[in-house]
Symmetry: C2
Subunit: 383 residues, 2 copies
């Protein structure tokens, strides 16, 4: 095992009705005012926002509420929220929604006590040294953002979809109440399942050294995702399946699968970020297209890992058979497999490759990937 | 899944030479003085203690060093150390050793800012509300104490082996350097492996509700223990195996296997604490004796869980076949299977049962266990 530091101070409050304690969680941090950040007005109509507001009121935490966060969240909205934080002197951010809302909240938390432009943290021009505390009430399980230090935001003009990272941005408390996720559509359930797979498989296949324990842990997480996705497609009200799905999503990106690993990278994320930045494809849908294409392109670089995947996940022998089974699974849950199915024309490949190379350079992957190799991968997703 | 709170703020610093940074870790906490707590003088002879002292000196952290912690650590030694903390106004405890040293350190940390007797926390008379920070440099992997809130100490006179728990006692930073564990004897490696099994199997078998994910995670941890124990018995210098063994030990009792579970208890620990309290048996050796006996006694209460264990862990069908394979494994690694092999006479069973019932009452298990049932279990460990 390689040297590592593991530190994850996020407290998870999991279960029914835990969102009604959010006021107490914020109060415990010492913050007496907060921004409630959310996406669509559906959470107001469902009564969730009212319960959050009531809980904050009960604890004497004053607040402003700001909706409008969109999927693949935009820098301009983050900047607007930071303006509100500064103007109203708000001391915490409470994200109510999925990964996009929480990622935005992290960027807002980083930007509130910073004089420059928050994009400086994404572009590498500045490092996060101060942040207001972030709290989360999750309505969608996919990104793992509820228990990690990462946030991803897209620049409105350059369409760069970049990330920030700081343990100061780990949510202080994240509420995971599976009941709040029961109304997620089947499409988004499938996209979420693929997103969890991508968090695991980028690591599983790319790592030059992967301890056996990590490989087995990843397979355990992925089997949980497959089992609970199938259960939820049949019965969206299956509380235990919803709960295990959510927890698998948290476990896939809270750092535990990464300990002791060497040489891993975020290969499919690097390619997919271009797709959702340029075509506003849902992240998980983009990953469903990229993952099998990338696996086909990549398989000969780690043959033993692909053979293992085939046997452990699908009980079949050989890399190709494993990839084929994986493609069938993606189709079976209703996620797209081709660029066309995700609404991306073949003519868009060049621009996608240019955008992805920007991220490859940011993430130090421009040694492993050229523009041509990204074109090759995307061409494998044409049919 | 049942409601849960997961919060584990311990930072793990894993890898070669990380103990040389301990001064920096203590300094970061704001403490400028510390007690270095250890067991035998071997760690002074090996040079480890000197490196810890040098690291503290380098950061200007003043310290006292106190050795003499024994296996199944004693209250009197904890009380003596608390006296030293108070007299010298020390502000942190650095445990250098295995679970016994760290458990003692947690009790010392809890007692330093408390006016009464530290045993009050164990007996349930008082709750930990203040503690100095604890740091750990592990030389043995077994108890999981390096990443949890628990500490176990034995009362010198009553021979009660009781536990304290508070998230304030989670080590701030725990150093896991597999190289420091390379000289662990084969006996203690085997005892440690069984201790990890017991942490997992008490939960696995006793829980009235165990999510499928948790069951699979536990099996992943236990397979790691079996694989790495075999590798280390062959080659004690196998760094990667030593590292995965240590990490499996941490993962087995850092809370992650317990999330969402209902109705679990520490059945074999309840019985074994009596054995190590009355006969000073190494904890893992006592567990090796109790585990199969308890499983035989308990198997019909959770038949489906025992059948699963047999198939998943050993590829055999039926509870009895699984238990038999498990017994063979215990023998194969050199751990004892009978009371006699652990140096306990059959005539001691009555006193063991009396002592265990004290813990059963403390842990609220006196509904599930009578004195007679503990006698029955121990009698299954006679041959």
């Amino acid at each position: 095992m390689r040297d590592f530091t593991f530190f994850n101070p996020t407290r998870i409050e999991f279960g029914k009705g835990k969102e009604n304690q959010i006021g107490q969680y914020v109060k415990e941090s010492g913050a007496e005012s907060a921004l409630i950040l959310y996406g669509s007005e559906r959470i107001r109509e469902s009564g969730l926002l009212g319960r959050i507001e009531a809980s904050l009121n009960e604890q004497g935490v004053t607040f402003e509420a700001l909706g409008g966060v969109v999927s693949n969240p935009k820098l301009s909205h983050v900047q607007k929220a930071i303006g509100l934080m500064k103007a109203k002197k708000l001391k915490a951010v409470v994200a109510v929604g999925g990964g996009s809302v929480l990622d935005s909240a992290k960027a807002i938390a980083a930007g509130t006590n910073y004089d420059g432009d928050v994009w400086d943290f994404f572009s590498g021009k500045a490092v996060v040294r101060d942040a207001v505390p972030v709290f989360a009430v999750m309505t969608l399980a996919a990104t793992g953002s509820e228990m990690n230090a990462y946030g991803v935001v897209t620049h409105d003009e350059t369409l760069e979809k970049f990330a920030i990272m700081s343990s100061m941005l780990n949510p202080r408390v994240s509420v995971i109440n599976p009941e709040l996720m029961a109304t997620v559509t089947k499409d988004y359930l499938a996209y979420s399942a693929v997103d969890i797979f991508a968090h695991c498989l980028d690591l599983y296949f790319s790592a030059s050294y992967l301890p056996e324990y990590n490989a087995a842990l990843i397979e355990t997480i992925l089997r949980t995702v497959m089992r609970t996705t199938a259960a939820l497609l049949k019965n969206p009200g299956d509380y235990d399946a919803r709960g295990e799905f959510a927890w698998a999503s948290t476990m896939a990106l809270n750092g535990l699968t990464f300990v002791g690993v060497e040489g891993n990278s975020y290969d499919t994320h690097m390619v997919e970020h271009a797709m959702s930045a340029l075509y506003n494809v849902p992240h998980g849908a983009g990953l469903a297209v990229v993952l099998p294409a990338w696996m086909t392109w990549y398989k000969n670089r780690r043959p033993e890992r692909f053979e293992r995947f085939a046997i452990q996940m699908f009980g079949v022998k050989g890399a190709d058979a494993g990839i084929e089974k994986f493609r069938s699974w993606i189709t079976s849950i209703g996620a797209p497999l081709t660029l066309a199915a995700a609404g991306i024309p073949e003519s868009g490949i060049d621009a996608l490759a240019d955008n992805a190379m920007g991220l490859a350079r940011m993430w130090g992957m421009d040694g492993a990937y050229t523009r041509d190799s990204i074109v090759e991968i995307l061409k494998l997703a044409v049919v």
